[in-house]
């Protein structure tokens, strides 16, 4: 099931991992270019999302998660596929 506040939950996860105020994370802000996140933190975000929502992010998709919107969209897809 996809939680109604999925955007908010993922934003909070990202904020916690990258140690930034959630308000600064806009939907399309690029983690690396706009938020100064390195590739390691991007991997940590994936791990945190997997743990929070009990999903498995395909390895080849990890490098594609560069914005909040992309993270939400992929998590939504994975949750829906789980049923």
């Amino acid at each position: 099931m996809v939680p109604q506040d999925l955007d908010k939950q993922i934003k909070e996860i990202i904020a916690r991992v990258i140690e930034l105020d959630a308000g600064e994370i806009t939907p399309d802000a690029d983690f690396i270019n706009d938020l100064g996140v390195d590739s390691l933190k991007a991997i940590e975000i994936t791990g945190a999302i997997e743990k929070a929502f009990r999903v498995v992010v395909p390895e080849e998709k990890i490098r594609d998660i560069r914005t909040l919107n992309q993270a939400v969209s992929l998590t939504k897809q994975l949750l829906e596929a789980k049923g």
Binding site: S39, L40, I43, E44, G47, K51, E59
Partner: protein
Amino acid sequence: MDSQRVVITGIGPIASIGIGKDEVWSSVTEGKTGLKSEEYSISDKASQKFYLHKAKDFKLCDLGIDKAVLNDIQTWKDEEIGKDLKYILGVVKLALDDSRLSFDPKDTKNKVGLVLTHENPGLDDFYQKVIDESFDLLKNNSSISKEEYFKGFFGKFQKRAYDLQTFMFLYHAAKAFGFHGYSLFINNACASGLYALEAAADIIKSGKCQAVISAGVDLTSIFKLLWFKGIGMYAEDGLIKPFSKDRNGFVFGEGGAGIVLESLESAKKRKAHIYAEYSGGGFSLEGWKVTIPDLNGDSYKKALSEALTKAQKETIDLLVPHGVGTTVADSHEAKAINEVFGRIKPPITALKPYVGHNLGSCCLLETAILMMALGNNLIPATLNVNDIDSKLGMDLVTTSKKSEIKIIVKMACGFAGYNGATIFKKIC
């Protein structure tokens, strides 16, 4: 009990920087590497250049292996022995000679075992032959039916494909030397060498074998190069720069090593030279992704902590991480090391800049080098590092230095999350 203590009594390295322990160690002490640029062709016209640490070549006939046995292996294979098997035979022979282990190869009850490791023995040669011969088959017969192609392909490759099975690789190598004891094939990606040492130690402690040779090699091919380049891990400038700010991946190293292990009891009895005690290790399996370590987990830290219990709280004189020079793996290692040791860490050096990354055999090759470091009380410098990444908190040894070494920790974090850390202790 000396029967429960395992020691290393022979080393046989082959690398880009030399054949045998003396050549290899001499190059390390001089700061030499075997880095080269090689051209690889994927067609009649196009070719690509790649950096690698290319292994020195040698003649199989110079190894002194029973010719009748070699001929028999070649007859079975119906072709040349192949690079992987040739180099495995080379490193095992060097290690055996170095150990002066005596056994009767004709005695099928001898208790000498073999633990081999290789990530994909024979696969690259196989790939190349399939491409070359299939292409010729198709080019010369454009109207070939699927059945004709199947029959032609199966006829050509059935035995080669059969020999890709790892038990066959183990069989050929054990047969060449007349090892008849408990033997295994191990594959835990880049941590394979540490697993192979641990398996050998377990076999010896169980009493199944008097001595076990752990051996592994890796040879480079266009297939591996393209794969690693594709996933962004190939260092375009050819330089492995572990834990440095400008680290950008690794290049491959060819070769590997054989390591002879036996009980302390056996080594004392035959008055063998003892390089070190293999005190055991810690191992873990993350079970997360293949090419990316679990940065949120503590699996690697657990392996290291478990290994340190085998050191019995003695001071660690040298820590050698995997040190592949990729952004992610180096950070993963630094995290585990920092969490276990805190601010006061042992001297740390990484050896891959000398010999390249030998994949499944890297830990065995580095173990051979470390046995020389231990005996000579010399910590080799980590090459290529001009600007250490301060965020990682790793103070590397960047100038080789004399220092009394009694205990070494060797670590590895492989693809698919295979982690290991092992302890080598000098026997005084």
